[in-house]
Symmetry: C2
C-alpha cells in the first residue's frame, strides 16, 4: 500500500498494531525472521524489497522491540536481527492469516506445513498450536513445504527453506557462520 502510515483518531489497539505491522513488507519480514532469517542480505535475497525499505522496516521493528539487533562481529562491525520474545508472539497471528488465506482465497493449498517435532509429530492447527500438546515453542516446530509452494525463487536462502527445517534455526549466512564455528 501507499499509506500515510498512521491511523490518527483510531484510538484502537488494532490501529496501533497496524501502524507498525500493517506497513508493506513488515509481516513478511517477521515471517522470515521466524523461519530463521537474520541478516540484511538474507532478507534482501528472499524478499524483493528495495534496500531502503528493508532498512527502514528492520529499524522500526527493532525500535518496537519485535527484533533484537545483535552484534555478531566486531571487526568489521556487523549486526544481525533476531526475533525477540514479543516477536515470537506474532507467530499465531501469522499462522492464522496464512491459514485464513488457504481457506478463503484461491490458491493451490498451503505453502508450508507445520508439525510438532519429536515424539508428538502432529500437524499444527490453524492457530499454530498442537492439537495434542497445546502451545508449542517455535524451536519445536518443523516446517515442510506444502503443495502450494511454488519454486520460482532461486536464491540460496529460499532453496534452503525448501528442505524440512526447524523454526528459528538460522538459515543463510548466519547458518554458515555457525557451521564454520562448530567445525573449527
Amino acid at each position: 500500500m501507499a499509506l500515510g502510515k498512521d491511523y490518527e483518531g483510531q484510538s484502537c489497539s488494532l490501529a496501533r498494531a497496524l501502524e507498525l505491522l500493517g506497513e508493506r513488507w513488515t509481516l513478511l519480514i517477521v515471517r522470515d525472521a521466524i523461519y530463521g532469517v537474520r541478516r540484511y542480505s538474507d532478507f534482501l535475497a528472499r524478499l524483493d524489497t528495495p534496500r531502503a525499505v528493508l532498512s527502514d522496516r528492520l529499524h522500526r521493528l527493532t525500535e518496537a522491540g519485535v527484533l533484537d539487533r545483535v552484534r555478531y562481529s566486531e571487526a568489521p562491525p556487523r549486526d544481525e536481527y533476531v526475533l525477540s520474545d514479543s516477536g515470537r508472539q506474532l507467530w499465531p497471528i501469522i499462522v492464522a492469516l496464512s491459514s485464513w488465506a488457504d481457506d478463503h482465497l484461491t490458491g493451490d493449498g498451503p505453502c508450508r506445513i507445520f508439525h510438532h517435532a519429536g515424539a508428538c509429530g502432529r500437524e499444527l492447527d490453524g492457530a499454530g498450536a498442537c492439537p495434542h500438546c497445546g502451545r508449542v515453542a517455535l524451536e519445536e516446530i518443523e516446517m515442510t513445504p506444502g503443495p502450494g509452494l511454488d519454486s520460482t525463487r532461486t536464491d540460496a536462502v529460499s532453496l534452503e527453506l525448501r528442505a524440512p527445517h526447524r523454526l528459528l534455526a538460522p538459515v543463510g549466512s548466519a547458518r554458515e557462520a555457525e557451521a564454520r564455528e562448530v567445525g573449527a
Copy 2:
C-alpha cells in the same frame, strides 16, 4: 502505507492474505463490520478515510467474499455491506492483533473488552475464545469500552459503540432503519 499492492514472487499464503488485508484501512473496515457497521456513510463517519479509498476497499472485500453486498432499498437503489462467513473468520485474527498490541506496544490498556454474553459472562481470551465454552459465535459476544478507549471521536456511530453492544448487531443508519421497521 503507500504500497504497490502485490507481493509478486512471494508464493506464500501469508502474502496472498496481505495482498487483500494488508492494504491500508482494510482491516479497520473489517473490524467495524464486525462491530455492526454496514453502510458506506457509517464507515465514512468512523474512519477518516478518503471516500475513494473506502469505495475501493469495500469493492475489493466484496469481490474477495469477505463482505456481501446486500440491497436494502430498491428505489433509490442502495446496498449495505454485511460480513460474510469468511469475514467472520477474521475475528480471531483481529482480536489477536489487538491483544498483541495491548501486550507489547505502549498504550493505556485495551480499548475494548469482550465477554461471552448471557449465562457464561466470562471475558474472552487473546484469541477471541471463551475460556469456559471455547469458540463463541460473534452474536454472543458483548463488547464494552476499556480503559484505553479515547473519546475524541464524536460521530454518531462511534458514540453508539461506546455503549455495551453485541457484535454484528447493526449500528448507525442500519440500526435506525431496523428500529423504524419494528416500530411500524
